[in-house]
């Protein structure tokens, strides 16, 4: 009987997998997913939170005479506090809609944010082209919208939404999206896989990011016909969490960012981020991203951009966050 069961099991396995074939483009998809994961992490580590804090610190230096050199610690703290207030007032008082267009090797993404509304959309990129219903690159056609994550207005309430366009599905969750972590803490800076700019309330975001520490003004650069102030943040090096280290087989990550701010409005216009993981047997991995920022007037149309909309005909599935699934098998 035992031998029979073992033989039958082996036959059953053959039969179960007889029709299985590997999809085409496995290597490219794996490469793309790998880069996308790093992109998302890099955006978190080096994105808006860190950058905003840099703006706060840097504008302090500029505002006191255009030099990155500051005076006594007390004076510096006073200047930072002053500029924090200016930036907060600029953001809150101006009541603007944030729009960040990020370019990475893995493909483009766009973030919109307004108050507690936000939407992050990821596109397949030209290398991937049209995505098939199972989410795979077909390498045909141009870049197309792949997924959206953020808040949707459902029955008059802001609701977390997640839409995948390639398979025409969406899920909703009434759990509140937690405020962004301090971008300079070990957990915040290297939080895996979040959207690039999970902006909830800007003032909280700025306050939580102040601990990022020193930044220095490193020059002036013309972007889009306007002069900007270039600010470089101090690299942040953190030890990876055991779980993440196990995945990437590396122990450390170093995040860097550079910010270009409009010296008149106190608002950033471009961010550069890079994250390098190292300390493992596989060699260093470096990922870079560039985000161009625009501040849009809060018209109805612009505010709508910060909301995820569920396209008609899409099929609702259970909220990923609430389901047990492959991740917990």
């Amino acid at each position: 009987m035992n031998t029979d069961v073992e033989e039958l099991l082996a036959e059953g396995m053959q039969r179960f997998t007889a029709e299985v074939q590997a999809p085409a483009g496995l290597a490219r998809t794996a490469s793309r997913l790998h880069r996308r994961r790093l992109a998302v992490r890099a955006a978190i580590a080096c994105g808006t939170a860190a950058v905003t804090a840099a703006a706060v610190t840097a504008v302090a230096a500029v505002g006191v005479g255009g030099s990155a050199r500051t005076g006594a610690r007390g004076s510096q703290a006073h200047q930072v506090a002053y500029v924090v207030n200016r930036v907060e007032n600029a953001l809150a008082g101006a009541n603007l809609v944030f729009e960040g267009r990020t370019t990475t090797a893995a493909g483009p993404s766009i973030t919109w944010a307004y108050g507690s509304r936000h939407r992050w959309e990821e596109f397949t990129g030209r290398g991937c082209g049209h995505a098939s219903p199972n989410g795979w690159c077909t390498h045909r056609g141009g870049s197309e919208r792949y997924l959206a994550e953020g808040t949707a207005l459902i029955g008059g309430k802001l609701t977390a939404a997640y839409v995948t366009y390639f398979d025409r599905k969406y899920s909703l969750s009434h759990r509140r999206v937690p405020p962004p972590a301090n971008a300079c803490s070990a957990t915040g800076a290297l939080e895996m896989g979040g959207p690039p700019a999970p902006i909830d309330h800007w003032s909280d975001f700025i306050n939580q990011s102040l601990a990022c520490g020193a930044a220095s003004v490193t020059g002036h650069v013309w972007i889009g016909g306007a002069e900007t102030t270039k600010i470089t943040g101090s690299p942040i090096t953190v030890r990876l969490s055991p779980d993440y280290a196990k995945v990437v087989h590396e122990k450390w990550a170093r995040a860097r960012w550079t910010l270009y701010v409009n010296p008149r409005t106190y608002l950033p216009v471009r961010m550069l981020g890079s994250t390098q993981t190292f300390g493992g047997p596989g060699g260093d991995t470096l990922f870079k991203s560039v985000t161009d920022v625009r501040w849009l007037p809060p018209t109805k149309a612009n505010i709508r951009k910060a909301l995820v909309t569920i396209p008609p005909g899409f099929h609702q599935v259970s909220s990923p966050a609430a389901r047990p699934g492959l991740a917990s098998q």
């Binding site: 009987m1 073992e6 179960f16 074939q21 490219r28 794996a30 991740a327």
Partner: protein, 173 residues
């Protein structure tokens, strides 16, 4: 850094072995889609270490596949996790041609076993590895492999015994 050369080399390697690896991944996870996710996760790891690999890349890839599966496939990427969960939310269409016989039932039971037991049985009866080889691949002792095999087969034998009962008894059960 991942570049086109690495992707090209990997594609060349996969042209030969992708189907077998995909079948293994499907057996380890129980579905085509989950198998794709598992294989993709293993390939991502392989890409990271492609430049420094010594020896057979398939060995590394298989080891990664089985270890991911034995660990319960705890992938860390939030994006991929969400995608996988979304996919898992969809009901897989029933295979109208699937004949429910003992072989199919055994595989179904196999897919309900804990990840490590399942990985051990797939290694033993799909990959035809010895217990020592399985232990080396999963990084555990031979004793662990033996006990996992024994427990897994025990569940399968229970099923087989019930299957061999007369039809009436089986229906009553």
């Amino acid at each position: 850094m991942v570049n086109d050369r690495v992707v090209g080399e990997l594609e060349h390697f996969l042209a030969e072995r992708a189907d077998h690896l995909m079948r293994t991944a499907v057996l380890l996870t129980g579905s085509h889609e989950a198998g794709q996710d598992l294989l993709q996760a293993a390939l991502e790891r392989l890409i990271r270490h492609w430049g420094t690999l010594r020896g057979d890349p398939e060995g590394y890839l298989r080891r990664t596949l089985y270890n991911l599966a034995a660990d319960g496939f705890r992938r860390q990427g939030r994006l991929q996790r969400k995608l996988a969960l979304l996919r898992a939310g969809a009901q897989a269409p029933a295979d109208p041609t699937a004949e429910v016989d003992l072989r199919d039932a055994l595989v179904r039971i196999l897919l309900q076993l804990p990840p490590r037991q399942r990985a051990v049985l797939v290694l033993k009866y799909w990959e035809q590895l010895s217990e020592a080889e399985i232990a080396a691949l999963l990084g555990c002792s031979e004793g662990t492999v033996k006990s996992a095999t024994s427990r897994g087969l025990g569940r399968l034998r229970e099923l087989a015994d019930r299957w061999h009962q007369p039809e009436v008894e089986r229906q009553r059960a």
